[in-house]
Symmetry: none
Subunit: 248 residues, 2 copies
């Protein structure tokens, strides 16, 4: 089961159809596909389709509800978003924790993430129907997050949690560390030692190296960047080019 | 010092002024204020101001540059964003790690996060001037992230890292101070450009460099290891030592 399919993005009484389109695009970039609209003020019009870019399918599959309660009826976890959160201290949750929680709970059932009206957010009555209240830690002096931007941030955190979960599941199955960048070749310690000796010999001849400090610094530098074989060959080629130049 | 002030959001040849306005709004919600524009295709017009909502001040303070190099010249860490990242495997970074890195490096100097053109992103030449390449882990089937949305995500991760850092610093002050790497200095993009030019000049003279491939590899190598100022000075000293040897 793709857990992302369990996530329902719910927009309540959205005023601007452009925001619905941008929301669809934001969702799809993060792999979410289920959009629910509660009494939108504008229909899914040209403006919505234009701003959805390639995410028209999300708009076409969007479900429209007259009542908030119907839009969340089949969901087992409801998270509501609002900037007005005076009396909701105990149920506040930030996007990162929200993403993790949503993925945990998606194993059992549908999860609704609810976004309120552009200007006034969710009503107190609606907020009270939510298990958690999402709070994006915005600038205290300017917290004016656009609706679709808020959807983008939460969808991103849901995707990050999903990717982590998927990675952990694969690790569990294979019981092996994930190997990255498997097509890059790295030199042996011996090749690296040859390179350092070659460098030291040449720059001692040139009178540049007079004590151990230089080689210590170079070792530290090249070991930190984990030289690849191709890069080591290049650097050795440069040493040889200098030697040839000097012997002319 | 407010570390968020060190972050420079750089937009390269943006086509739509609306995206500049939305970017300003996205930045300000996360407490960022420094916007740099490289040859924008449209000026900061009514559309930009309208979409910036209450973030007009960010637009008013935006700096405009003709050349990419000038826009990043005083920055010590450059992160470029692009969806086209085939050959950049080793320098890829995700938004979360990018936020943490940006905050660590903001202690020493300015940090540029660079966003390319709406349709074609950054050029290869521009990407090669970046230490890291930001990759948002989007839906493999649909990665069409709007420009301002990408800025929003990265700005959010920078803010999250900043909030964590601020929290930790408060803890440190109360308990035990253990600050790492505070005395490392990093070179500016301009100093790094001088080093690459110097290297290319010398090894072309030696007949070792005959095409662009060598410099591409060297740039990639030294940008990946985030050369420190002391290391850069050492490498430049080595170039000078070779030149002296050749002129004897």
């Amino acid at each position: 089961m793709n857990l992302l399919k369990q996530i329902q993005i719910v927009l309540v009484e959205t005023s601007h159809s452009g925001n619905i389109g941008s929301t669809a695009r934001a969702m799809k970039t993060m792999g979410l596909s289920h959009l629910r609209l509660v009494s939108p003020k504008q229909s899914i019009d040209e403006q919505a389709v234009a701003l959805s870019a390639g995410a028209k399918d999300v708009l076409e599959q969007a479900q429209i509800f007259n009542r908030f309660d119907d839009a969340i009826a089949d969901c087992q976890l409801i998270v509501g978003t609002s900037a007005r959160l005076r009396h909701l201290q105990s149920s506040l949750i930030e996007p990162r924790a929200c993403g993790e929680l949503a993925m945990q709970r998606a194993k059992q059932g549908k999860v609704a993430i609810v976004f309120g009206r552009e200007r006034v957010g969710l009503t107190n009555e609606e907020l009270l129907k939510c298990h958690y209240h999402l709070n994006v830690p915005t600038n205290a002096e300017y917290g004016s997050l656009n609706l679709a931007m808020a959807v983008q941030l939460v969808s991103y955190e849901i995707r990050m949690a999903w990717l982590n979960l998927t990675k952990n599941m694969q690790n569990d199955q294979q019981n092996l560390p994930l190997t990255e960048n498997t097509n890059i070749s790295y030199p042996s310690a011996e090749s690296l030692a040859h390179f350092f000796n070659h460098t030291e010999r040449l720059y001692r001849e040139l009178g540049f190296i007079r004590n151990d400090a230089v080689m210590l610094k170079l070792r530290r530098l090249y070991q930190r960047c984990e030289l690849e074989t191709a890069e080591l060959n290049l650097l050795r080629g440069m040493l040889t080019a200098v030697e040839k130049g000097l012997n002319k």
